[in-house]
């Protein structure tokens, strides 16, 4: 698996997003004194997309953005492909579109326009980087990921519909390409394309940095030849360096955050 270098960007990004959202929240007085489009105010606080998670109707955009940010960091640092947060991506993209439309109505000389444009550029970076990271993983371990996906079944899938289609097409491309270029010239017993034997498999034993978002009791760390199995409790907000495998399930249920 490709190594993902920790970017120096996220921290500053998170800080500035918080700050900027404060700007957004405190903007109401400003908008009353100017010709600012009032739609902007409502749209950042709530949104009502009916397809989106019907049981949680009023999720603030901050929450969506935060979820996306966490998903993005988790995806960046975890060796394997994590469940897709497609709904959040779509929702955020709709928001961006709306915000852009509203921003275009602003006068060019308005300083707030610049601040918001910057903010949108940041959010867009998070989204594209998140999807790119996933695509990279899919391309590197296509056969393995498809195999796992088939085992999990459609109701429990990690890939979004588009990603699944992409993965299948990508694998088919690899197959036809290697067949055409080399395999068909080989002696007949060697002509078969064996994707599962050739695929890269993510190294689940690689180490990750993580922070516990809540208390996690008795994580079992497998022992090796010299050591016994060990149990660890992760306290809320504590930070650890651990192998990925034992904590994978906790990461997926949202108790942990990779950093």
């Amino acid at each position: 698996m490709k190594e993902f270098r920790p970017p120096n960007f996220p921290l500053t990004c998170r800080e500035s997003i918080d700050v900027n959202f404060n700007v957004l929240k405190n903007r109401r007085p400003l908008s009353q004194t100017s010709c600012y489009n009032p739609d902007l105010d409502t749209m950042e606080d709530t949104f009502d997309d009916e397809d989106f998670l019907s049981d949680q109707e009023d999720i603030s955009v901050q929450k969506v953005l935060q979820t996306l940010e966490e998903a993005w960091l988790n995806e960046k640092f975890s060796p394997e492909l994590l469940p897709s947060q497609e709904d959040y991506v779509h929702c955020m993209m709709d928001q961006i579109q709306q915000m852009e439309d509203n921003l275009n109505k602003l006068k060019k000389t308005d300083f707030r326009g610049e601040v918001h444009h910057m903010e949108l550029a940041r959010i867009r970076y998070i989204i594209t980087s998140y999807l790119r990271t996933r695509l990279d993983k899919i391309e590197l371990a296509t056969a393995h990921i498809l195999e796992q996906e088939a085992l999990r079944g459609p109701e429990n899938s990690y890939l979004s519909e588009g990603e699944l289609k992409f993965a299948k097409e990508f694998l088919a491309l690899q197959e036809s390409h290697s067949k055409q270029l080399v395999l068909r010239h080989m002696p007949s017993p060697f002509q078969e394309f064996m994707p599962t034997q050739q695929t890269l498999v993510p190294n689940l034993r690689s180490h990750v940095f993580l922070r516990a978002k809540k208390d996690v009791q008795s994580v079992v760390i497998e022992g090796d030849r010299d050591n016994r199995d060990e149990e660890v409790d992760l306290d809320e907000n504590s930070q650890h360096i651990m192998q990925y495998q034992p904590i994978a399930t906790y990461l997926k249920d949202g108790s942990l955050q990779l950093i």
Partner: protein
């Protein structure tokens, strides 16, 4: 020695300093010949089992078989790693390859590139309602505007807001990042860092 040629293919590819070394038709063909030779020997040996009282033929078959497997694996690796390079080009240059790269690809690779472009474009279109170009926003934005220097005589460039700038060689501009990012990746502009 067995498999030397196929290993060399990979080594050459790895050592090459070019962005895209030419497809080594000749090398690949030599490996095919070696494989065919090995395979024929194996078939002959297997059919001639009567002449094998002490089991030496079996050992020979096993070795040749292993060599065949290794040759196959090396060739697959060679093809795969070239494809990875081609794939990176798609992200770097978009769906049109520069001619000097294209000259070094073989026909199936160009086909692969086109199909990959298509698959990728379909995927990007499927994201959200209007699609999302993932080849944009590749770097975390630090500021909205960047200073850029033009490396070529690109000519007129129209921005989203309708303004037209003339990109002449060595001229410098302050442009919005989103606008000039594709041009920077293509090597038309260069970002000036202070």
């Amino acid at each position: 020695m067995f498999c030397e040629k196929s290993l060399n293919l990979i080594k050459e590819l790895d050592r090459s300093t070019e962005a895209m070394p030419a497809f080594d038709d000749d090398g690949v063909r030599q490996v095919f010949e070696e494989m065919r030779g090995l395979y024929d020997q194996n078939v002959a040996a297997a059919n001639d089992s009567t002449a094998d009282p002490d089991g030496t033929a079996i050992a020979g078959i096993a070795i040749r078989h292993a060599a065949l497997e290794r040759n196959k694996r090396c060739l697959m690796a060679y093809v795969y790693n070239r494809i990875r390079k081609v794939r990176n080009m798609r992200w770097q240059f978009g769906s049109i390859l520069p001619p000097e790269i294209k000259a070094n690809l073989c026909e199936p690779e160009i086909q692969w590139f086109n199909s990959y472009s298509k698959t990728l474009a379909l995927y990007m279109k499927s994201i959200g309602d209007q699609g999302l170009n993932l080849a944009q926003d590749v770097k975390p934005p630090k500021s909205l505007y960047v200073e850029v220097r033009s490396l070529t005589d690109y000519g007129k460039f129209e921005m989203d807001n309708g303004e037209v700038v003339l990109l002449k060689k060595h001229s410098t501009h302050l442009m919005s990042r989103a606008q000039c990012e594709p041009l920077i990746i293509q090597g038309i502009l260069e970002q000036i860092t202070h």
